[in-house]
Symmetry: C2
Subunit: 139 residues, 2 copies
């Protein structure tokens, strides 16, 4: 008989696959982040969520973990707000609606949206990525 608290197995595998030790904290955060579909979190929102579920983890570790996951390719960062950093579990080609009133992000699939007419970058530089943010408000 195996005792399973949560769907922790997949998280452990996922961590091992990218060369990260499956510590309790990393497994718990990975479970929260990758359980369902795509998510957009800030360090503090994720920390609050974990704390609210009774998980014991420091904010510093949440920051460390989000960066490690990002460097491992499990997450990407999204810049939409000068005062908060967002992390996105969807690392594929896509763009965002940003609800300025709520501070929330909604994905726009990469197949739906297109950017045309990007001029050639200045000499010696190459395009790293093209980000589109559609800012929306009530009204």
């Amino acid at each position: 008989m195996v005792k399973v608290r949560r769907d922790t197995g997949k998280a452990v595998e996922r961590l091992r696959a990218v060369g990260l030790r499956p510590t309790r904290q990393r497994v718990e955060l990975a479970s929260l982040l990758f359980r369902n579909g795509d998510r957009h979190v800030t360090a503090e929102s994720l920390h609050d969520e974990a704390s609210g579920l009774g998980l014991k983890i420091s904010l510093a570790t949440v920051y460390n973990t989000l960066h490690q996951f990002t460097h491992a390719g499990l997450l990407r960062q999204v810049v939409v707000d000068a005062s908060r950093g967002y992390f996105d579990t969807n690392t594929g080609d896509h763009q965002h609606f940003f609800l300025e009133d709520e501070g929330t992000l909604i994905d726009i699939p990469g197949e739906e949206i297109t950017v045309a007419g990007v001029p050639q970058p200045p000499a010696g530089l190459s395009v790293d990525r093209v980000d589109v943010v559609v800012r929306v408000r009530r009204g």
Copy 2:
């Protein structure tokens, strides 16, 4: 005989036109910002520039002034970096290259670049603006 230290007259007019008192500090900053073509500044870069020219102005006033100019429609803000806020003297329709290594912005005219296929925003919300950031690096 009129003593003119700088091209200060246009700045004074511009401030009066938007209902801002032409104080020494606002006139000096407006002169720096709007003298030549388009500029992209951070509060600190503008403060450094002013200080370097021997102008006496506090960083708090630079922040105040940049926000007042923005609210008056003389500037707009650009979000490209989670750790710094940029202000843009070009308030027209355009997008940006962001040189991630240097932290500098280059305009892309609005007529050159196009975004197609933006889905309808969620119910009750309307599009405020669409921002495109083309992130470029050496290589």
